[in-house]
Structure formats: structure tokens, C-alpha cells
């Protein structure tokens, strides 16, 4: 388990797109366009992933083992054959948690320096 964590740490800091994709997949398996929509909704439209960025990230994340392509398809009436669905792996969750921890630590530091409003 410690090994796994060490390996996860070696991915940090995570590219922004990668982190967002992991977050989007944390709730449920999604196809590409759904990930884009999920990310947009989560950021109130501030981050609109382009198709190229999305699939380049997906390709890399597949190779790194952060996500897998899933064979389970939704009910046929909702399915589109062209679509591929992706699922976050256990290791992907580990990496996302590691990134979250890293960000939290940063925010704490910023707060101590008075850059973030709120409790010290």
C-alpha cells in the first residue's frame, strides 16, 4: 500500500485536465462528451475541455492505468455505438486523492500567509 502511494505521488502535480477527468469519473462511468459536460458543469462553465485535450489525456491516462475502458454499456435505448465509456481505477482514485492532499497542503500554507480569506 505504501508502494502504491509512492507511485501515486510520482504523478504529482497532476495536469489540470487529468484531475478534472478523474473527478468527473469518480461519480459514474462516462463517455467522452459526458466528461466534457461534467467538467463544464462542475466549474460553472469556466473549463470547457476541447476534444483534443480530452482524448490526449484519456490516452495517457489509459496507459498510466488511471482509468480503463469499460465493457458495460448503458441500456440500449440510451447507448450510441460510437461511444466508449471510461471508468476510474483504484489506482486512479489513489492518484486523485494524492493530488487533493497536495492541493490541500498548498491551500493551508496560503492561508497561513494570509492569502486566503477565512480561518487561520
Amino acid at each position: 500500500m505504501a508502494d502504491e502511494r509512492l507511485r501515486a505521488d510520482s504523478f504529482l502535480p497532476l495536469p489540470e485536465a487529468t484531475f478534472h477527468i478523474l473527478l468527473a469519473l469518480a461519480e459514474e462511468d462516462r463517455h467522452g462528451y459526458a466528461i466534457i459536460q461534467g467538467v463544464a458543469a462542475r466549474t460553472d462553465g469556466a473549463l470547457k475541455l476541447s476534444a483534443g485535450t480530452l482524448y490526449r489525456s484519456i490516452q495517457r491516462m489509459l496507459e498510466q492505468g488511471l482509468i480503463v475502458e469499460t465493457r458495460e454499456r448503458p441500456a440500449p435505448e440510451l447507448d450510441d455505438e460510437r461511444r466508449r465509456y471510461y471508468r476510474i481505477t483504484a489506482f486512479g482514485s489513489e492518484v486523485a486523492r494524492a493530488e487533493a492532499r497536495r492541493l490541500t497542503r498548498l491551500v493551508k500554507l496560503a492561508r497561513v500567509s494570509g492569502f486566503v480569506p477565512g480561518r487561520a
Binding site: A51, T53, Q59, R60, R83
Partner: protein, 862 residues
Amino acid sequence: MRLYNLLLHLYPAAFRNEYGPEMRAIFARREQEARGPLAALTLWTSTVFEVVGNALAVHWDILRQDLRYTARTLASTPGFTLTAILVVALGVGANTAVFTVTDFVLIRPLPFSDPDRLVKLYERLPGYSRMELSPVTYRDWKRMSHSFEAMGAYVSTSVNLVGQGDPERLEAASVSSDVFPLLGIQPLAGRPFNSTDDRIDSPGTVLLSYGLWQTVFGADPGVIGRKVVLDGAPLTVIGIMPRDFHFPDRSAELWTPLQVRDDASFEDRNNNYFGVIAKLRRGVTVAQARSEMAVITAQLQHQYPKEMAQHGATVNPLHEELSESSRLLLVALSGAAICVLLIVCANLASLLLARGLARKKELAVRTALGAGRERLVRQLVTESLVLAVFGGVMGVLGALGSIPLLGKLVPMSLPIAQTPSVDWRVLTFAVLLTFLTGIAFGVIPALRTGGSVDLGGLRDGVRAGGGRRERVRSALVIAEVMASVVLLVSSGLLMRALWRLQSTDPGFRTDGVLTMRTALPWPKYLKTAAREEFYKQVLTGVRQLPGVANAAYISVLPMVWRGGIWPVSIDQEILDRAESNSASMRFVTPGFFVTLGIPLHLGRDVDEADTSDMPFVAVVSQSFVRRYWPSENPLGKHFKFGFHDRMVVGVVGDVRVRGLERPSEPQVYLPYQQVPDGYFFPYTPKDLVVRSSMTAGSLLPAIRRIVQSADREQPISDVRMMSEIVEDETASRSLQLRILGAFAAVAILLAGIGIHGLLSFAVSQRLHEIGVRIALGASSSDVLRMVLRQGVALAAAGVALGAIVAYAAGREMEALLAGVKPGDAFTFLTAIGLCALMTLVGSLLPAARAVRVDPITVIRSE
């Protein structure tokens, strides 16, 4: 949408196949959402940037993976890797070095403004297409012509510099004030010459070259305005020329104004010594200028029917001021370098093909794991490019290191530096060459190997024949043999030519002859008597030195100065001034012929008693006698030469005044005392020749002391052995030959390796077949024959093709061959013999391996 599809092609095919449909779908939605032209425009711009950026990133990801993989595979086969890198380094290095010189000499524009409008002008006479102009003809041409924006004249000279340390002899040029503006060159500091400087009565001025300013004047900027003493006259330094400026050739170290006396000698239309450079008017072609000059020379012929009969004009672009042989020499080297590159590529392609087969299993594994054909090909091409880049860097470094050695290939006659400079063109060439090489030797093997992988490769003990692949490799080996035959024959022909030239009798003996120059300055030595005094003192002193057999002076040594050609007239009849009626004129002191070992065939040498108040006499060469008195006794005959009637008193052997490669005019030698004061100053004896049994090093200090005691301000320059002068005649050829020889050696070595590699591979592929044959009763010699037959067939095909190309190449460079025939049988037979030997050596190991095959082991291993 079509446009988007097109954009998607920027991605690697595998990526596009995988994600393209979904990306298209997403884009289609976005397009629907974008309402209004502004939104559409925004979508499209952002999409273009996005696709380009992401595509690059995807390619980069793949490249990084491939590079990591390549590093691992190459490191696991260090032998192969090193060989391949060295072979690429050879090819790229050879071509970069040769290109540097070729570009510098043949391609790069001359370092003047509007270089393509610069031309040189010459007088043309039967037998002489390029003769310098007489001052008066220069004046007429300049006045009468309209094709030229400007015209300037110059004369190469040399001067003695006194007062800056030891007296020094410097090469210089006198130039008219039009020359520098016409070239578009400004001094680095100070001012250029103006028309006042050109006047004979104006105070003397001088411009220094950058090199001279750096060395002799210690880069002192205060030198401008100072006086320096040149040939005894104080001249004011008015400026320093830029570092890379060379004119008329690279030897000139300073420039003085060309001041021309308007006297009787100016009017002599046969006193040709002006070099003339001109700039064509914008829009005027060389052909137009030529036809205008034809009209002008016709007018002058009409005006001066006696002096100007048959005089024409030659107009030659400045960048073509290069002898045919210098040009051919570089073209031949470039061709050879390309041959080497061809062999290198063929050899590497062959190596990679073999390696590809050895890696069949590895590639099959990767295919099984899902790598597409494109990915495999891409991986293999990356590998060859990595090899090419390493080899290219090594080759370029080697080439850069060798450039100073290649200076001898830069002809003296061009106004450029001796050492080629490396600029962005050379580096671009090297980079392109490296990538082309990588692709050339990488692509075919990659397509063959990466494209035909099947899972059969996973099974053990497959006997993949790969007939097609062997055909490609056979073709590559044939190409290698062909190129090496071409190189062998070319260098063989040039070697024969060099031998022939080196064995040419120069007409004199060079052993133990030391030469040096003491050029007496004008006007200090204007009087003949003053010079006599100097020569007598020096020669008497030198002849008394221990070990010295003899010593003498001559105007300028043969091969050092090829000019000084004068018309000859017999019986007051003026003969046409054609090649057959002129002779080279030299003044000599007594003892010159003995010192240089020129045989005296008839009569006597010039003598101290041949003074200016005695009848004027001459010693002539045998060819002179053959030309004018073929069947008479020449002694006592008279002829007019150099303004005076001369009587023949002696006949000596001919010498090669014009060097080993060209025929020379007959020679006339005149006694050094029979010169009226102030006449023939350029012909004043300058070159001292000393025959001795001592080394130059032990002789020189003593000679220096003798010269110093004769004239404290007199410099000694150009100290050389006579043998060096003759060797210099063939120096650029021997250098060229050494390079070509090295190329040929590399070529034949690589071709041998190529044959060896192919046959070894063929044998290893056919081990089973060979084993079966042996088991069925084939004898060793049967097996041997089978293997050798393949090698011989390849070599024979290569030799046949190579011989044809080599003959064609020989025809092209016939001008370089000094009379050796392009189809020289000895050379061809030697080259073919060497190829046969190479084939035999290359086939030996594979053949031996085939013979030793143990049928039982091979068949059981199945």
C-alpha cells in the same frame, strides 16, 4: 466538417482511428451550438489552435516513448550501434567537408556587392584568350564602352617594407580609385582612394589589409595618418580594409594607388600588364557587353592596324575566374562524396534489414500486444534517425576539424580566403543530409520489417526465407559494389595522371637547390649598375660558403611566374603576336643554367663580359631554335626581342615555365647587365638559386648575413627548396587524390562488409537446406560453389554497372587526366581485381561456415 476531418490528419493514424469518430461527434455538437458567424469563427480559430497543439503533444508523447525504447534496444546491441554510427559519421562527414569547400569556391556568391554584375576584361589574341590590357587600351575601352557602370584597373606587385622590425617583402596591388567603389567595399577605418591619389604627382598613399594591420602594426588604430616606408618611398597610411576583403586574390596585403606615367611606355599597345575589372550596368547582359566590346575592338583594329591586328576582347564573369581543372577537381570530389554516401546508405539499409529479421520475434510480440503497423514502422524509423543524428553530429565535428586541411583545394585565383568559413548554409546542409541519410537507410527496412510482421514470428524454429527481402539486399550490395568501382577507377585514373605529371621532366634538376627572393626596390635600384653591384656582392659571398656548388639570379623562377611573354621578330619582319611567335623573357646572371642543372647544348652561357656597351646577346631554348632555324646553326643568328636586336650565343634545354600541365613558350635568357637604366624593371633578377650539399637551415643564416651586408634594408622572402616549387604544382591534386583514395578505401571496405553480411545471412537462413544437401551427398566443393556463386554474381553485376558509370565519369573529368585515357585498361583491371579480391574475402567466412555445417545437428534442431 470536411475541414475538421482534414485537421484530424495531423494526429498519428492510430490516435485518429481510435478517437476520431468521437472527436468528430463532439465537434459536430459544438458546431450546432455555435450560432451566428462570430461564434462559428471563434469555434474554428480555437479548434485549429487546439488541434495543432494537441496533435504535436500526442506526437511528442509517442516520440518520447520511441526514444526510450530506442535507447534500450540500441544499448543492448552496442556493436551494431557503434558500427552504424561510425558508418553514418563517415558518409555525413565526407559530404559535409566536401560541400564546405565546394560551396565556398563554386556556389557562394563572391563577397562583393552585386557580384553577378562583376566581370573581368582581357585582351584576346590568337593563342591567348586572356591577356592583360595595356594601359592605353584600358583607357580607350573605358572611354568607348557603355555597357559598364564602372571600370577599374589593378596591377599585382610586391614591395619591401622597411622600418617595422626586420625588412619584409609583402604582396601588394596597385589599384585605380574606381576599383573599391565598384566592388562596393569601404575601408574598415580611414578613407578609400580618390581620383587625386591616382595622379602621378600626388603624395603616396597606402591602404593596409586587416591581417597586415593586425600582425605588423599591432592593430594600432593610430596607424592611420602615419608614414610607412615601402620600396624606399614614404607613403601615408589612409585606411584599413575589412578583415574578409581580398583583391585581386588572397595574397595582397596592402594596396597603393595605380599611378600611370603618361609617357612613351604608356603608349605602347603591346605592353600588357593591367588587370581590369568592370561592373555591368543594371540590365546589361554579359553577351551584350561582349558584342559591344567586339565593335570597340574592331574600331581599334581599324585605327591601329599595326599594333592592334587580331586584338579582341574577352569579357568573363568574375565568379567564373576559376580554371576548368579547379572546378572539375571539386566536382569530382563532390561526386565521390555522394558515392560514399550512397554506399553508406546501402550498407546501413542492409544492416538494418538483417537486424529486422533477427528482431522478427520481438516485433511479433509487439504486434500481438496491439501495436499497429504504423507504430512499428514509426518506431523503426525513429531508431534509424537516432543513429543518423549521432553519426551526423560525429561526422560534422570531424568535417569541421578537417576544414583547415582542405585549404589547398581553394584556388589562389579567387578573391576569397584560403580557409573555407562555415556558415548557416553548411550547417543546414549537414542537418538535411543527416535526416535524409537516416530516412534513406531507415525507411525501406522499416517498411519491409514493420510491414510484414505476422504472428508466425512467434513460433520457434521458423525458416523464413524472405526471398523478396534478399532481393532488396542483393540490389543494395550491387549498388555498393558499383559505387566502389566508380570510386576505385576514378581515383586510379587520377593517380595515373598524378604519376604522369610528377614524372614529367621540368627541364631542370631540383635536388639540393635552395631558392629565395630578394626583390630590389624601385627607384633605389633604378640604375642597372646599382643592381649589378648588389648581385655581385651577394653571389660572390654565397659561392664562397662551404658546401655551395653554385649560385645565380634569375628574373623570376619558372613555375613561380608564368608570364613575361614577349613577341619575337626576325629580320625586321614583325610577326603576328600569336602564341607561336612569342617567348618568355628572363634576365639571368652567369651560372644560372649550371646551378639549376639546365643542359647547355650549344655555344656558351651569358657572361660577366656581356655588359651594356657590348653587343646584346641571348641564350635561347631548343624549342626556340626549332621554331625559327630548324635546320640551321642558330649561333650568331639575330632576332628582335624586347626593344633590342639580340644575337644568339647559346642554346639550352627547355624548361616548363608554365608548369607541368601546360605547354610553355620557347625561352629567351638575357644577360642581367644588358638592360638600359629603368627598362624592364619587373624583369629585374629577384630570385636567388643556390645549389649546395648543405641543408637549407644551415645555409640560410649565412646567406641572410651576406644579403644584409650588401643592403641592410633588403628583405629576403619566399625561402623554398626548388623541389617544393615543383611539388606545389601537384599539391592540390595530391590532396584531392588522398581524399578520393580514402573514399575509395572506405567504399571497398563497406562493400566487402555488405557482401559478407548478405552471404552470412543467406547461409544462416539456409543452414537446414545445406545440411540436407550434405546429408544427401553434396561434397564440400559443391557447398562452397553454391555460396561463392551468389557472391560472385552480385560482384559481377556491380562491377559491370560500375565500369560503365566509371567510364562516363572519366570522360567528364578528362581535362584533369593529363593525357591518361578515361578507359585506361590498367586502371580498370586493377579496380576489377580489387573488387574480386574484396568479394573473395567477403565470401570466405560465410563459405567456410557453410562447408562446416554438420547435417545431423542442423536437421535435429528442427
